[in-house]
């Protein structure tokens, strides 16, 4: 029957192509059970007060302050000691955030380093060797080192486990990597990448993968902008030619790349599931304002569609808020995948409605010039309506297509029988491509 929570992923069972979207099994949660003793809300508040007393955030750069905050274990309180955490309960993170905002401190910029903070850090903390954690987490946290994710390939999108980028080890020395990655946001700014590569093509697809942390400044890494339908380039193609990675920059065991990548992708899903915005904060607000301000554009059919869209957007907003409340209460549910599907569909519907309502204005476009842009949809009002319509087409593809997410729900929540598969037991090199 319908279950309230997703399964934890189990690498011993038949491999699946989708990460679980329930964060509760993250290896990063281990310290919660082990070391939460003695660190309660009062303890956190005391540590925040000590930090602010010793390092006045209003008198130093945010990078400098964030470094001190990391050293005090207040970056991610649920991470282990020495990794920017205290081994405390994840629920106490909110206490830190609000206390520091009250103290006038700048918080870590998820806007600047979203991949690193959202997905890199949990993966490093869970699977990185001690030396790697010491090396990588602090500059990631402060934003001095930006991270990107080298997963998708031209031949491996939804079927990520079919990827072809090869990593071959030279004796007991370095790994040498060759291949092409695509849809890599922030590759042009990144110092580090999470790389998933094939280390054994003779094994079935999920079993021959290994996970690395790649220095993006290494020789043989070439980053090219990838122009998209909007004209701009948010993403990149990354070409890897004889790139050398020391074995010490491997995450997890050889052949365990799929399990490690699940930590990354699971956190991606959580990150995208996001908090609730304000009413009419999204594209529906722009359409509603146009409806209010321009009576001459109104027609009965569009009115019906506008009201339907308004209802769906508001319900989706409440759904996101409910997810946030569940997380805050320590009882995360599997609704994140559903929220992401809903957001994609609604943003597409609403931006199309926007163009139809705009009429002649919808015929224009502001700028097709190829230029780099920040990750994600531009701020509302910054671009012409046509831009938002086109950009929304990516919503149901990026971060897991809506079709893959439906499979996640079918598998993990509804526990429906899997589709029969032909690709999980044969050697990767024998798969048709």
């Amino acid at each position: 029957m319908v279950r309230e929570r997703g399964d934890v992923s189990d690498t011993d069972s038949e491999p699946t192509d989708e990460p679980t979207d329930t964060p509760s099994h993250a290896p990063t949660d281990e310290p919660e059970r082990e070391a939460a003793d003695g660190i309660d809300e009062a303890g956190i508040r005391r540590r925040v007060a000590d930090l602010v007393a010793a390092h006045d955030p209003t008198t130093m750069s945010s990078v400098e302050f964030l470094g001190h905050r990391f050293d005090a274990g207040l970056a991610w309180v649920h991470f282990p000691v020495g990794c920017g955490g205290l081994g405390a309960s994840r629920a106490l993170q909110q206490v830190v955030e609000s206390a520091l905002i009250a103290a006038g401190a700048k918080t870590a910029s998820g806007y600047r380093n979203p991949i690193g903070l959202g997905m890199g850090a949990p993966t490093i903390a869970a699977h990185g060797a001690a030396r790697l954690r010491a090396e990588l987490l602090r500059p990631l946290w402060t934003g001095e080192e930006i991270w990107c994710q080298l997963f998708s390939e031209p031949g491996a999108g939804s079927d990520l486990a079919g990827l072809a980028t090869r990593a071959v080890r030279e004796g007991d020395g370095d790994w040498v990597v060759n291949g092409q990655k695509v849809w890599t946001s922030l590759a042009h700014k990144a110092r580090w990448a999470m790389l998933l590569a094939r280390t054994d093509p003779d094994l079935p697809k999920h079993q021959g993968l290994t996970y690395f942390f790649l220095d993006m400044t290494a020789p043989g890494v070439e980053v090219r902008p990838l122009r998209q339908a909007t004209g701009q380039a948010e993403f990149n193609e990354v070409f890897l030619t004889d790139v050398r990675i020391p074995d010490t920059h491997r995450a997890g065991e050889v052949g365990q790349g799929w399990a490690v990548s699940n930590t990354t992708l699971m956190n991606e899903r959580v990150a995208i599931g996001g908090a609730a915005s304000a009413r009419e904060a999204d594209a529906i607000g722009a359409v509603a304002r146009m409806w209010r301000d321009r009576p001459e554009l109104r027609t009965p059919g569009l009115h019906d569609r506008l009201l339907r869209a308004w209802v769906e957007c508001e319900v989706a907003r409440l759904g996101n808020e409910r997810i946030r409340q569940q997380l805050a209460a320590g009882t995360p549910g599997p609704e994140g995948s559903a929220a992401k599907i809903a957001y994609a569909r609604l943003n597409q519907d609403v931006t199309r409605l926007w163009l139809e309502l705009a009429g002649e204005e919808g015929l224009g476009y502001d700028d097709w010039a190829m230029r780099r842009s920040e990750l994600g949809q531009a701020t509302l009002g910054a671009r012409a309506p046509g831009y938002y319509y086109l950009r929304a087409k990516g919503n149901s593809i990026e971060g897991g297509t809506s079709e893959v997410l439906r499979n996640v729900i079918a598998d993990r929540v509804l526990d429906l029988p899997r589709e029969p598969r032909t690709d999980t037991k044969v050697p990767w090199k024998e798969m048709p491509r």
Binding site: M1, V2, A276, A278, R279, E280, G285, A288, W291, R292, P295, R298, T299, P300, L302, H303, D304, L306, L307, R308, W310, V311, E312, E314, V315, A316, L318, G319, E321, R322, Q325, Q326, A329, T331, G333, E335, S337, A338, I341, A342, E403, L405, R406, N407, V408, I409, A410, V413, L414, D415, L416, P417, R418, E419, P420
Partner: protein, 381 residues
């Protein structure tokens, strides 16, 4: 636009306790076989079940303050009860009596007749209904179908109301009546002289509607012109907002039945739940139900807190949850294939409840129109 604070959309401990207790009773006494058997009889309502949940579990008095013998909890708890009653398609007059009629009386000024009625409703010894056509939506004009004339002993009511929930079952009727051009609410005994009550064959046999014909029927005024319209509006809004939770329960049960069947039914050598065409539809339904839960919880929470956004929350929940329930029930039929279309299978119970509920207290389209007014999205001229 101003930003209403979003209250908790989760379930509290009291609510979960209530759910567990009610679910146990319904599991023991209200399996779908029992519901299915009952609709072939003349007794639409399961009075034994109603006594068990209304009086023994105290559902009838959830909204009624303790001073009248009720539990004095609130809309959140009522919503959870409705989820469970919806899940079971329980043939009990909870919505009519414990929600609609009770809410109307609670919005009437204190008085001997009203207070006495609340007491007998709270202990479950009597059942009431709101004598309006059940499709009436919050914000509709005051019904004009019953008029009243004063005499030396009080009020005599004359008129007819069709499509009334629990019309032939309720021992007390809260009747909107127009007296000398002014709106009032009157309390009428179900067995009053010159009152004719008739059940009609209904789309939802687990919650039939009926007709009331009043020919100089004696009633007592419980709300005069200064209170009547507001009290009726309050009852209709409470009913609409909380009906969303019942629709949520129906939708969940329909999906659960469908999913269970997708796992066991084999065709083409595979469980049919392994076909992506069906997996994706089931996943979409689950997503819509998750969203419906947020909408229904928001409506219940806004009522419970008497929030400024209550009218928006009500229209929103009704514009969304009814359609989700209908879609879930329709998919339940379709995913079962042939057996889902038979009388012996419960799918049609969910379908009939879902579809009839979608018409109750205003269709989704009515509520969208209400929202258009509330959030300043006026129609094209």
């Amino acid at each position: 636009m101003s930003e209403p604070r979003i209250p908790s959309l989760l379930y509290g401990e009291v609510e979960e306790d209530l759910r567990a207790a009610l679910r146990e009773v319904l599991r023991d006494r209200c399996g779908w076989h029992e519901v299915l058997a009952r609709i072939d009889t003349e007794e639409a309502y399961d009075d034994g079940l109603w006594k068990a949940v209304a009086a023994e579990l105290g559902l009838a008095g959830l909204l009624i303050p303790e001073e009248f013998g009720g539990a004095g909890v609130g809309a959140r708890e009522v919503a959870v009860a409705l989820e469970e009653l919806g899940r079971a398609v329980a043939p009990v007059p909870f919505l009519a009596s414990a929600v609609l009629a009770t809410s109307a009386l609670l919005a009437c000024p204190a008085g001997e007749a009203r207070d006495a009625a609340l007491r007998v409703l709270a202990d479950g010894s009597r059942t009431a209904t709101l004598a309006v056509t059940a499709t009436t939506w919050p914000g509709a004009g005051f019904p004009l179908s019953v008029t009243g004339a004063r005499d030396a002993d009080g009020l005599l009511l004359t008129g007819a109301v069709t499509g009334v929930l629990a019309a032939d079952r309720a021992e007390l009727l809260v009747v909107p009546v127009v007296v000398a051009g002014e709106a009032q609410l009157a309390l009428v005994a179900g067995d009053a002289a010159h009152l004719a009550r008739r059940a009609v064959t209904s789309l939802d046999p687990t919650r039939p509607v009926g007709e009331l014909t009043l020919d100089q029927v004696r009633g007592r005024v419980v709300a005069g012109p200064e209170h009547a319209e507001a009290a009726l509006g309050h009852a209709l809004r409470q009913g609409a907002a909380l009906l969303a939770s019942e629709q949520l329960g129906v939708a969940e049960q329909a999906l659960a039945e469908a999913v269970a069947y997708l796992k066991v039914r084999h065709q083409f050598g595979r469980p049919i739940g392994s076909f992506q065409a069906l997996r994706h539809r089931a996943a979409d339904l689950w997503s819509d139900i998750a969203a419906a839960r947020a909408a229904a919880r928001y409506a219940a929470a806004c009522l419970a807190e008497d929030a400024a956004d209550a009218a928006v929350a009500t229209a929103l929940a009704q514009a969304y949850c009814g359609e989700v329930a209908v879609r879930a029930a329709e998919e339940c039929v379709q995913m079962h294939g042939g057996v889902g279309f038979t009388w012996e299978h419960p799918a049609h119970l969910y379908l009939k409840r879902a579809m009839a509920s979608a018409l109750l207290l205003g269709t989704a389209d009515r509520h969208r129109a209400t929202l258009g007014t509330l959030v300043d999205l006026p129609p094209a001229i």
